[in-house]
């Protein structure tokens, strides 16, 4: 069976990509943010994963409001970075883990999660930025990807508990996958931010730090929290943090937090990362 190497939670703020595009990686403003990812990058590079399952939300780029999949799954051989309005970005296309993705589609539907299955899909900063934060700017990405897209924009938005259950299903699908591939699961989004309304600019560093500290060892209260409480605690867009619960639900009850990092604000967002490993490794 395939191996669940690690779970990673990370922000996917588009300004991170813009900073990389503008060559600001090492400026005083941005260096502390990017430097915080280095230990996790090194750890993952040494482990050489084969597949990254990336859970993210599309931001009105691949899908418009004419049809909004609550849950979508990419099964493509290749995904191209999308032009979000500012022109194409200088990053390579992503190779898809189509075989595992189809297996996951089977497992999802059998397990009563019914995704929109996407054979052709362009991917926005929700996938691009986490990949750049973990793997840098390679000429070609060292892993294949499986995109899982969650609607977090147009209500109704799925519950945090449903995200956790999806993570449990993902775990089963990994364990039933008869290869020796090594898989890293990346839950993305957040942390606290709000782009809309008079409360725009809301960030909550105290709650962000609690999330980073607790998502590994004590995730229960976050799993059990209502979506509206996410909105209140983390802001209307910060509520996309529920996508980290897919990653956490995929892991064992007991995990080790290998690395974590927090920085605020990145643009208008509390930004950060955790890297988790199951406490008892299977390998």
């Amino acid at each position: 069976m395939a191996e669940l190497l690690a779970g990673l939670g990370t922000s996917h703020v588009p300004s991170i990509a813009a900073a990389l595009d503008k060559g600001l990686r090492h400026t005083p403003e941005w260096a502390p943010f990017f430097d915080g990812y280095t230990p996790a990058q090194d750890w993952i590079a040494a482990k050489k994963p084969d597949i990254a399952v990336v859970i993210f939300n599309d931001h009105g780029n691949a899908f418009f409001l004419d049809r909004v999949p609550t849950l979508a799954l990419g099964v493509a051989e290749e995904y191209h970075p999308i032009d979000e309005g500012w022109g194409p970005r200088p990053i390579p296309p992503f190779r898809g883990a189509a075989d595992f993705a189809w297996h996951l589609a089977d497992c999802m539907v059998e397990g009563h999660f019914d995704p929109l299955i996407c054979r052709e899909l362009d991917v926005d900063h929700g996938l691009q930025v986490p990949m750049e934060l973990v793997f840098g700017r390679p000429a070609a990405w060292p892993v294949k990807v499986v995109p899982i897209l969650i609607n977090t924009i147009q209500y109704p938005v799925p519950t945090p508990q449903r995200m956790w259950e999806l993570g449990k299903l993902l775990r089963k699908a990994i364990e039933n996958w008869p290869t020796d591939e090594k898989i890293v699961v990346m839950g993305t989004g957040g942390l606290s931010h709000q782009l809309q309304g008079a409360r725009a600019g809301f960030i909550n560093p105290a709650a962000d730090r609690a999330w980073i500290d607790e998502i590994g060892p004590a995730p229960d209260r976050w799993r059990d929290m209502a979506l509206t409480d996410y909105v209140e605690t983390f802001g209307s867009e910060g509520a996309e943090l529920i996508m980290w619960l897919v990653m956490r639900g995929c892991m064992d009850a007991r995990v080790k937090t290998l690395h974590s990092h927090y920085f605020a604000p990145a643009s208008m967002t509390g930004a950060g990362m955790v890297l988790l490993e199951n406490a008892v490794c299977s390998s």
């Binding site: 009105g60 209500y155 782009l195 809309q196 309304g197 008079a198 600019g201 560093p205 920085f263 643009s267």
Partner: protein, 343 residues
């Protein structure tokens, strides 16, 4: 939980709302001290903090519409009963002046006798007990208050200009036999607000809330409870729900089309022509042209889509945030994003 604020009309008080207050917790507004509809609206917004669900009867409906114009983000929903949105009509002033003079000359009982019968359901004999209760209510006010409220009504704003901007829940309710504010006036409002629900109460006139207190009370109580359950619980946080997605669909579609080089070129070359391709409301169009981000979001725009406008006409995301917060950029950066916690 939002507060249900009940706004009575001319020389009216909590009595007109007894069918509602018997069923659900609510606060009855006092509009007896202000000289204009706008001042009444400002006063209520100041006196009743937090999120509000409004129900306004007659003149109270006009105050509610003005509150929605001034502070839409404070309101979780609005019910307008036996009211209208039109400004002063020709000949109205003279008729109102007769009533003002009558109250001053002959007193409030005489005013009640002259005024109330025409407010009851046409074609029905008014219930004597109800007439006695309504007369008693009228007599709790003075000729001066009556005059001040009538003059406020005469200078009322044209709510037809602002109501298209109200995209939140809207209940319109009137009596089938209301000859003062007939059903058609409520249909006119509904034409501007497609999300509106219209309830016509039979065997009721202009004082529908007390002519049929059980039925009106039940409608308002149920509606208000539904709104409270669905309301944005978090202040100043417009979740992109069905009403907003409906209201903003064309606006977001216009912005989405800026994802392509062709769309961006067309927008940059001739913005008016580009905008005309989409079924924007006049308000939405004006908001886009003015780059009024607060208005675009209020009118159903979602930042993930309308942000694409800033790809053609560059505006930093933090400036868009500051505009919505109603702050200067410096204040915004200091008070909202100043909690720098690097490392």
């Amino acid at each position: 939980m939002p507060t249900l604020l009940l706004i009575p009309g001319l020389v009216s008080d909590a009595f007109v709302w007894h069918g509602v207050t018997a069923r659900i917790p609510a606060v009855v507004a006092d509009v007896s001290t202000q000289a204009t509809i706008t001042a009444m609206a400002q006063d209520l917004l100041a006196r009743h903090p937090g999120r509000l669900i409004l129900a306004g009867h007659s003149m109270g409906g006009r105050v509610a519409m003005e509150m929605a114009r001034l502070a839409p983000s404070r309101l979780a929903g609005m019910a307008l009963l036996n009211t209208g949105m039109h400004p002063r009509r020709e000949g109205e002033e003279a008729k109102r002046q007769e009533k003002i003079d009558l109250a001053h000359k002959s007193g409030m009982v005489a005013l009640a006798e002259s005024w109330l019968p025409g407010m009851m359901a046409a074609g029905r004999t008014p219930d004597p007990a109800l007439m006695a209760d309504l007369t008693a209510m009228v007599c709790r006010f003075t000729p001066d208050i009556h005059e001040r409220q009538l003059r406020a009504l005469l200078s009322r704003p044209d709510a037809a200009l602002s109501m298209p901007g109200w995209t939140g829940p809207l209940l319109l309710l009137t009596g089938a036999q209301d000859v003062w504010s007939p059903v058609a006036q409520h249909q006119d409002i509904a034409a501007l607000c497609p999300q509106a629900r219209l309830e016509v109460i039979d065997a009721a006139g202009h004082f529908a809330p007390v002519e049929q207190p059980d039925r009106v009370g039940a409608v308002i109580a149920t509606w208000s409870a539904e709104i409270a359950a669905q309301a944005d619980r978090i202040p100043e946080t417009p979740l992109f729900d069905r009403p907003r997605a409906n209201a903003g669909y064309a606006l977001n579609k216009m912005a989405m089309a800026l994802s392509t080089p062709e769309g961006r070129a067309a927008f940059a070359a001739d913005e008016d022509a580009y905008l005309s391709r989409f079924a924007l409301t006049p308000d939405q169009r004006a908001a886009v042209k003015a780059r009024d981000w607060e208005a675009m979001v209020r009118l159903g725009g979602n930042l993930f889509y309308i942000l694409k406008i800033s790809a053609v006409d560059p505006t930093p995301i933090r400036a868009i945030g500051a505009a919505q917060a109603g702050m200067t950029l410096d204040d915004f950066l200091t008070t909202r994003l100043g909690k720098v916690t690097n490392g």
